[in-house]
Symmetry: C5
Subunit: 368 residues, 5 copies
């Protein structure tokens, strides 16, 4: 019951958030997440091949705010990381200052937004779902928007987490090509990091399937059936988040937008391969989870079969024997067998004979 | 039984309405809804960036009728809202006066019309299903036709309801861009409001699924199975109403019709995202409702398993014991055990032994 | 058994008819229907906007035959209705006189022909399945071929039936546009009448589904399962007949054949909508009929569950009681309880206690 | 067991044949059928509109061999029929003499080759599966390769059978157009004869489905389930053989190869219709065979239901009665009822009452 | 349990390997296989039409290494076979020396890489899964990368195995065309050898299906159900490995890359046919394995049916008889039948009558 109410509450919350948008004009910047009231912060990494600087700004100071906007025009590559999306007004002001369309800013703070790539004249805008496992091994889906401008990449996310840490380290330590390349390569690298994390999620699902496969076989309880259904739902959910990515990358590869260089498209082709692999794997997991349910049902039938066999054997053996005992429990005046000297033992002999005969019969039927 | 008859009646009504069209020429304006005899009324909102006027006309007065037609030529944006479609003649006269093709007028009053977009030289014509929940939380599908002309949007609907209230308020209060933009933006805004309402319907289905999921697990009665089937049917029905919308918007985005500006197409791209998301969600719901049925069947099997176990345990334990009691109820002249001093207690000992042994056996099989 | 034989006979008949074509050259005009030996007759309706004439000819008289052929060159619109296709020679002679390709004539009399549209230089040839319900509400599929030539439409059909009566009346009474338009509009109107009738068939299937839904729920007998299978088969069959129509109309809309005017294409777009709707509805019916079977199986399981519960309750209650009775039916010399003054009543007390306890247990398990 | 071994043998044989190709270069002419050691023979039919000649050659004589090759250059149409493909060397020699690519010759003798059409500069090469029923009504799939060259059609097949007899007769008797047309029409006619035979196979499957439908209903034994599985496998197999044909014909219709005239393409369009119909029919049969299995499972459940009802009725009626009899079989010193004058009859009355009551209960539940 | 832990370990291993790549830049050459620490070796076959040389190099000697690189410029065809991919540094050095892109080298050592073809300006790069059966008839999937350069084919694989032995022998013995053709033909031949081996895998699956079909019918134990699930998983896995090959070949056929000659494309068309056939066969196997599970479930039901019948027959016959015996075991003072002279025998007669009657009834129901 408790669970039901909880579910209902979650739904209501979501509904009320969705309701906030109902009737509003498109392009209305409305935060849809559940971290209302948190302040935003901005971290900036500015780098060239031989130089790197790191900044942290208090975006609520006008002075700092203006400094942030200026990075837009810097000739070095700037990675502007905006953490916290709940302050709709601030994000709108920031976005407009960077020249973003209101529709893009709306999508950036709409944490329910389906993954997508939109191309505008002066920037490319992408919304993704960053999937990772939290400390309890629970799946977390975090909404992230990435904007590619000339020499600048703006990342808008809710939490400061570590999916992008590898890229941060590579830039800092100058490993890999990233320092030598443009903003579009950084954009690709961030996208690649998100996709790489999808593989972790897939492996997590894979081990869940393996555990369930064994459970289904060893003890097909109704709880297992529910776990299988939960798994199926999870695969469906993940598929919805991940599925659009393939098409999005394909769009980036085919684009003629000047911000994406031919060199980066080569790397995007690689990311494309990964997203195809992920989609295929999800498809396989879907079929496996359906097989699991089938296996479960067949095992439930088998268990019932076993139960029925025990009943049938016990009843089939003892009901006839009880009948015989009943016959000689009758009170007729004249039942000749009753007066035989060894009548009682003869009857035992008969009953043992029937017993052994039936055992033999069931043995031959492979029921024992 | 009562239900059956009701269904039959509904079908007959629909059939007879469909029959009205049988053998009629295409382009015959025949009302297909079930609100025959209601009068139509016309509300008009005329606005520019800095001015707004609202009118209500008695369409049955020739004087008013002529005034309505004149709005067509007004340089301001006119939102002409026609409520009530059952007066076929009036609608036909109104439609022709606005220069609509007879086929369009036919589709406007044909409440069974599949959603579609048709482009004509001087207007764009769309038919939609407006879905909302009524006071009893029952799904209502209302047929609505929207015509986009130069500076004019005509909405033909059956009821004065509130799906478009948000837009009305935005125009009145000058929030959002709507007052600065053309008729095509109003057309988009109406379409967007309809699509936004689809999300409410989806969430309603989602909570139904969640309730059924729990019910299936806790008490899989045949009524639950029927509820699942009703849910599946509802998803199928909604899919038929919603599914064409994606293709319709895609048609509007790709059109070269001069009435749709490039600026509005940017917003349509956003509506496109929503309609894709809706279709994907419906697909997920469809798979979930199929899983529900599977879960139900597996739970019915489980329940039967449990019933069988009780039977098997009771029968397997007491049938052999009854047999033993029967043996010593036999009336043979000579049954040595009967004359043992503690014979009766020995037998009780044996029976308790068998009882415990079988309990232990069933315990080991995890049946208890 | 009787049914089997009948089926076998039908198959043999069909096979032998199919066998008639085996090894024949393509373009061999061979009648495939089952109305051999019937005579053909020809009815002609010739009309212009302000004039209409009706003729009936005895096609077996050379004089009449020649008159028929002359209608081909009349400037008025001629609707030539050929009833009865079994006289292969006559049809071939008639077809060739009208300039039809032998392949078309073959398809016209081949009642097994899949619906299709073929374009030739001087005519457009379509084969359709006219579906209607006969007096016993049984589905009838009648093969009909329609040829569109300049100013002439030839209809070749097996029976004089009334699907086209609405059009006939509209022409006669000058309602609708039909008298003002060309032969291509007549061609469209005939096609539209055929498609309109498909809706009647769909509604018939719909009511069958509704009746079965209730039957499945109330009394899931094996006969119901068979009815569901028959329904599924019927939906499959109808889908095969109807499915190609959408593609055929699409072909007509995209054609550049001079016989189809741009104006008629507008109407064809309408027919296209209908054929899409029909295909979608059939798809929904298919899924519903599959759900029905699922529902049926789940209800059979439920019924079995109920049966099992009755057995389990009866057996679980009375088997232990019988055991107790058996114990005190034993003939041991010394059974102390037997000699208690109220022993018999104590035992009844014990038995009632067990009885009530078990009833309570089953109640708590919701089995009662 | 015997069956298993047989199956294994067949597989081994096939595997060893497949193994023959393993590691061989593509274009190695290796016979894959199971008629090794049979001699080839060549029959030739040479015809023009007003002349016809028939030849039989001993292809192993160099003299005859050379004569055969000369037909290639004859201005008349030559239908060269090569029977027996196991002599790889001979076929290679013959093929090369006719100017065939080694890859084509390989495909001609590879009886496992998937149906396909290959276009080369000077010929069109097709591989088909000729399906027919043998004397035991068993399905036979015979590999046949047909080569279309200028004025020449070469047919390479394993057996002299009668699928092409109709065409042979039409050429001989000058019925149909075939004598007036070119080699491409002969090519089409052969292809058409193969497709026509597919309909016979489909009808055979149809009658199998009809017989199984009845069997499933009347006596759903496990053997029937196996027959259904065999049917499903057969449909799958046939689909693999037939499915590519549609695409092949479509390729021929779209080709710009000079060997296919526009006139023949008209006939190919007809064959296309047939192949679409065949594929659709196979699809329907597949769904029907799946329905059969579903029906079977539901009928097995029904039968079990019936068995359970009998058990439940018998047990529920007699177990309580036996309990009552047991009660009055107890040996308590004081059981007042036993000493009533009509006690025995009262008990019978009670038992009959219970009996009738339970019968009535089961009747009301529709179990009787 | 042991199995579960093993599975978990394997997963962890894989995960940790995958983790090695996490956060690394794309193009990082990281070995993903499980043969770490093994040394690489290089074998080279250099051939022209009339000359052939074979070399084996110690790639860790700088002198040998340089010799290997020089083969790149040799005018003869060089087949450079690199065995062992775990030495990431060496492979990277080798790859770069041959002018390969880092992304290609990464894919070459990434043993999890999905099969693909990438075209670069100066080479074509393909990754494949070489499938074969090891000595225990277990399926082995070996990652192999093949690079086509001008006059050079580089094969990078983990093990020296014999899938390519046939090609090696053909080159050595000068059978087939291979010596006369270019490097692209060698590339094709290697690809063709890989595809040819897929057929062996398919036949292995086919015999597994055949064995399971019989097992399912004869003894549908839960182990069989698990075997069917394993088979399904295997088919899914193989499909993922094999499926992309068709598209890859199609890409090679459509390419305009100068390294692929028109002549080789003819052979690729042949390989295309094979890969289509393989995909279709896998599809059929998938459907068959699903049918197997269905068959299994239906057979489990049948077995249960049989069990139930035995129980029903035994219980239905002996419970009424026991009741009769119980009646005459009652201790009423006055039971007239008990004092009949032949009462006992009359009762036996009655019981035998009931016994025979019930037997007859079950016989008629076909339960015996």
């Amino acid at each position: 019951m408790g669970k039901k109410k909880r579910t209902a509450k979650v739904t209501n919350k979501k509904q009320s958030r969705r309701a906030k948008k109902m009737g509003k004009a498109p392009g209305s910047v409305i935060y849809m997440g559940n971290r209302e009231g948190e302040k935003s912060s901005v971290h900036i990494l500015e780098y060239q091949e031989h130089q790197i600087d790191e900044f942290e700004f208090d975006v609520y100071k006008q002075e700092d705010f203006e400094k942030i906007i200026e990075f837009k025009n810097s000739p070095s590559i700037s990675w502007i990381d905006v953490i916290g999306l709940s302050d709709e007004k601030l994000i709108e002001k920031l976005g407009t200052s960077f020249g973003l369309n209101l529709l893009s800013i709306e999508d950036a703070v709409n944490t329910n937004q389906r993954p997508k790539i939109d191309e505008y004249d002066n920037y490319i805008f992408g919304v993704f779902n960053m999937l990772y496992l939290d400390h309890n091994n629970e799946l977390v889906a975090e909404h992230v928007a990435i904007v590619l401008m000339e020499n600048t990449v703006i990342v808008l996310q809710e939490l400061k987490d570590d999916v992008f840490d590898g890229i941060y380290n590579r830039i800092k330590s100058k490993t890999g090509r990233i320092r030598e390349k443009g903003a579009d390569y950084l954009f690709f690298a961030l996208l690649d990091a998100i996709i790489d994390n999808y593989f972790v999620i897939l492996e997590n699902i894979n081990s869940k399937i393996e555990i369930l496969e064994e459970d289904v076989y060893l003890h097909p309880t109704p709880e297992i059936a529910q776990d299988i259904q939960l798994l199926k739902k999870e695969v469906l959910r993940i598929r919805r988040w991940i599925y659009p990515v393939k098409e999005m990358i394909s769009k980036l590869i085919d684009t003629e937008h000047p911000l994406i260089t031919k060199d980066t498209k080569l790397f995007l082709r690689d990311a494309m391969d990964h997203s195809i692999e992920i989609n295929e794997t999800l498809q396989v997991y879907r079929e496996m989870s359906m097989s699991l349910m089938e296996m479960y049902i067949s095992n439930v039938s088998n268990k019932m079969n076993e139960v029925m066999k025990v009943l049938t054997i016990m009843a089939s053996i003892f009901i006839p024997l009880t009948f015989i005992a009943g016959v000689y429990g009758m009170n007729f005046d004249y039942i000749p067998e009753l007066h035989l000297k060894y009548g009682y033992f003869y009857v035992w002999g008969l009953m043992i004979l029937i017993f052994v005969g039936l055992l033999f019969y069931f043995k031959r039927k492979n029921w024992l």
